[in-house]
């Protein structure tokens, strides 16, 4: 393990678990959160190095999570990973200071590459 603390936030449970599993195969240990509230609790407990964040979630949506994380934990690198984002969301995300903005579906190897880049270990 590389020791990158990774948080995966996505309301598709199946997807997020499988993604975590696959990332582990690539030496990236990730925790998962299924909605915005969980994600924020997680961050409050232990701030991750990199956060993969979906935008479209029930409750507190990804953009709000991003806003709060950027405000309260500016050290956390956030990579948006969404199927719904439009240009405006993308522009807003960039304005809030995301590390990258990826549109689903994303190839796993590219995602890994971006995570490593975000953690600075690449």
């Amino acid at each position: 393990m590389e020791g990158i603390r990774l948080l995966l936030v996505d309301d598709e449970e199946e997807f997020v678990r499988a993604l975590a599993e696959r990332l582990r195969l690539r030496d990236l240990e990730g925790r998962t959160a299924l909605d915005g509230r969980q994600a924020l609790e997680f961050v409050a407990g232990e701030a991750p190095d990199v956060m993969i964040l979906d935008l479209n979630m029930p409750g507190i949506d990804g953009m709000e999570v991003l806003r709060r994380v950027r405000r309260d934990y500016p050290a956390v690198r956030v990579i948006i990973h969404t199927g719904h984002g439009n240009d405006l969301d993308e522009a807003e995300a960039w304005r809030l200071g995301v590390f990258d903005y990826l549109k689903k579906p994303v190839d796993i190897d590219y995602l890994v590459e971006r995570i490593r880049a975000a953690s600075g270990s690449d």
């Binding site: 598709e12 997807f15 499988a18 195969l25 240009d87 405006l88 522009a91 689903k104 579906p105 190839d107």
Partner: protein, 567 residues
């Protein structure tokens, strides 16, 4: 293969029907003008014509009537004169003197200086000639008049004027006779019929008219030019001295009784003769009406044609605009639909990709031989992921329909076009395609979404390269657009496109390219340009090939087309 997409507009249907409508409107207008000219003119003319005609007939009737009256007076006077002359002779000379042939000849010569009387004779009470002066001595010598109508009549009444008759001499004549008061003898004179006739022929009844005297037995007393005693008069109605007038379609008749009702003087005039002037005036008026209508129609045509043309042009523009608006709305709707579908598909695509990827990952951990056909499984997993990537191309392409108009900036169109082309320079060079430049100078900067516009230019140039295939040129020019704004034109030297392709080239999912092309490029370009308040059109280049023209308003950022769609 080439790829084009999207339609701007289809030819409006029923344009023939509309042409028909316009020409019908035009004909209707001309008809109204013609009627407006013809009806009042013809009405006035017809009224005037009838009015003048009846007053003509009235005045001609009055003239004819007074003519008939004056003629009848002249004739009555003439006959009375003859009677008076004979009566004077009878009274003056007595039978003894007049029975002498030489004396009678002397008297005859004296009274007949005017030549009104042809001959004169003295007849005894037994009807035998006592003396005769005149040219018919041979024919009349030894004749006995005892049974002649005139003789019996004069012996009964003292005076007599006969109808015209042939008698013994064999030529038509009128006899005037006066008996002495004792009825023992009579003086008889024959009136020169030529002189008598001249009393009528001098009456002016026109070239088609007639004047004659007819007896109550229906015999003509004077020659009739038309040879017909057709006057529609009866003898009993007439008052002596006063004319009766009537007319039919062709003639005006005036009649006066003569000789105590034994004769009737008839004057007849042809209406057409006296109305000749009126008919000429009528023909001139008809000519004038025809001319006025013709001039009116010419003037109306000169007015209506440009009017109808302008109307037609305005209608055509309006319909074209409507079509374009509908098309733009349709495109926007399709775009929104496409973008939302793409959004919904992206999540499941990600899961498919992930699961397939996981299978691949798991296979990596399996030791060779433990799972048979590992390679096949891995191939299948890779293929799934490859096709997910292909699907992603489409869905991410569709997302291009989403918001436009972020990041508006003052943009130099020449700069943007050059930059876009430079991205594709290598690709063009590999296909031996040259760029030909004709960039306008001093073009105003355009307030627009630079990145989006670049996407449009890249797409058009890419299509042009694909359309040419190999060896050719793409001419890129910029210039000021009509009104404000600028225009960029991309003409390729490719084969061009058939009309049905041209019509569909901006439609989403329309593609002539084989393989995994989604057919969204031009559709998205269309959407972007429209939302930037501009316009994109495609036409055929004169020498083959296609020309894409992008027009942009100078203030695209403020255009209402640019308002963001919420998604």
């Amino acid at each position: 293969m080439k790829m084009y997409s999207g339609t701007i507009r289809k030819a409006p249907e029923g344009s023939k029907l509309r042409d028909l409508y316009y020409s019908r409107q035009k004909r209707l207008f001309l008809l109204v003008v013609a009627l407006a000219l013809v009806v009042p003119l013809a009405g006035i003319s017809l009224f005037s014509y009838n009015y003048y005609k009846s007053s003509w007939i009235e005045s001609t009737s009055a003239e004819l009537s007074s003519l008939a009256e004056s003629r009848s007076q002249i004739i009555e006077l003439f006959l009375a004169d003859q009677e008076d002359a004979l009566a004077g002779i009878v009274e003056l000379y007595g039978v003894d003197y007049l029975s002498d042939q030489a004396s009678l000849s002397q008297v005859f010569t004296a009274v007949n200086q005017s030549g009104v009387i042809t001959d004169m004779s003295v007849v005894g009470v037994d009807g035998r000639h006592l003396a005769y002066a005149g040219p018919f001595t041979e024919e009349l010598s030894g004749r006995n008049y005892a049974d002649a109508d005139w003789f019996q009549s004069v012996m009964a009444d003292g005076t007599h004027v006969s109808d015209i008759f042939t008698g013994f001499r064999g030529t038509p004549h009128i006899v005037v006779a006066v008996a002495d008061p004792e009825r023992t003898w009579a003086l008889r004179a024959t009136v020169n019929s030529d002189f008598f006739n001249s009393l009528l022929t001098s009456a002016d009844v026109g070239p088609g008219g007639d004047a004659y005297i007819i007896s109550w037995t229906g015999e003509l007393q004077t020659p009739s030019r038309l040879g017909a005693a057709d006057a529609p008069f009866t003898f009993d109605a007439a008052t002596p001295g006063a004319a009766e007038v009537l007319h039919d379609e062709r003639f005006i008749y005036a009649a006066t009784p003569l000789k105590g009702g034994d004769w009737m003087l008839v004057l007849k005039t042809d209406i057409d003769d006296s109305l000749g002037g009126l008919y000429r005036a009528r023909n001139q008026v008809i000519g004038f009406i025809v001319l006025a209508v013709a001039l009116g129609l010419v003037a109306a045509t000169m007015i209506i044609s440009p009017m109808v043309n302008r109307l037609r042009e305005a209608d055509r523009r309006r319909m074209e605009l409507n079509d374009r608006m509908r098309e733009a709305e349709k495109m926007a709707l399709v775009g929104r639909l496409a973008a939302s579908v793409a959004h919904e598909i992206n999540n499941p695509l990600q899961i498919i990709e992930n699961q397939a990827g996981w299978i691949g990952d798991l296979l990596d951990d399996e030791s060779e031989g433990k799972v048979s056909d590992v390679t096949e499984y891995r191939d299948a997993s890779d293929k799934i992921r490859a096709h997910v990537r292909r699907a992603r191309e489409i869905t991410h392409g569709l997302l291009g329909f989403s918001s436009v108009g972020e990041g508006l900036a003052s943009t130099d169109i020449n700069n943007l076009v050059s930059e876009s082309a430079s991205f594709l320079e290598n690709e063009a060079k590999n296909s031996r395609i040259a760029f030909k430049w004709d960039l306008g100078e001093g073009l105003p900067p355009v307030e627009t979404d630079r990145a989006r516009l670049q996407q449009v230019f890249l797409n058009i140039i890419n299509n042009a390269i694909d359309a040419i295939g190999r060896d050719g040129a793409i001419s890129i020019s910029t210039r000021p657009a009509d009104g404000s704004g600028v225009l960029a034109e991309f003409a390729d030297s490719g084969p061009g496109m058939p009309e049905e392709v041209r019509a569909s080239v901006f439609e989403p999912f329309f593609s002539t390219k084989e393989g995994g092309n989604a057919g969204l490029g031009l559709s998205i370009s269309y959407d972007i340009v429209r939302r930037l308040g501009g316009d994109i059109r495609v036409s055929s280049a004169p020498g083959g090939g296609s020309v894409f023209t992008v027009t942009l308003p100078s203030d695209a950022g403020k255009s209402k087309n640019n308002t963001r769609e919420e998604r």
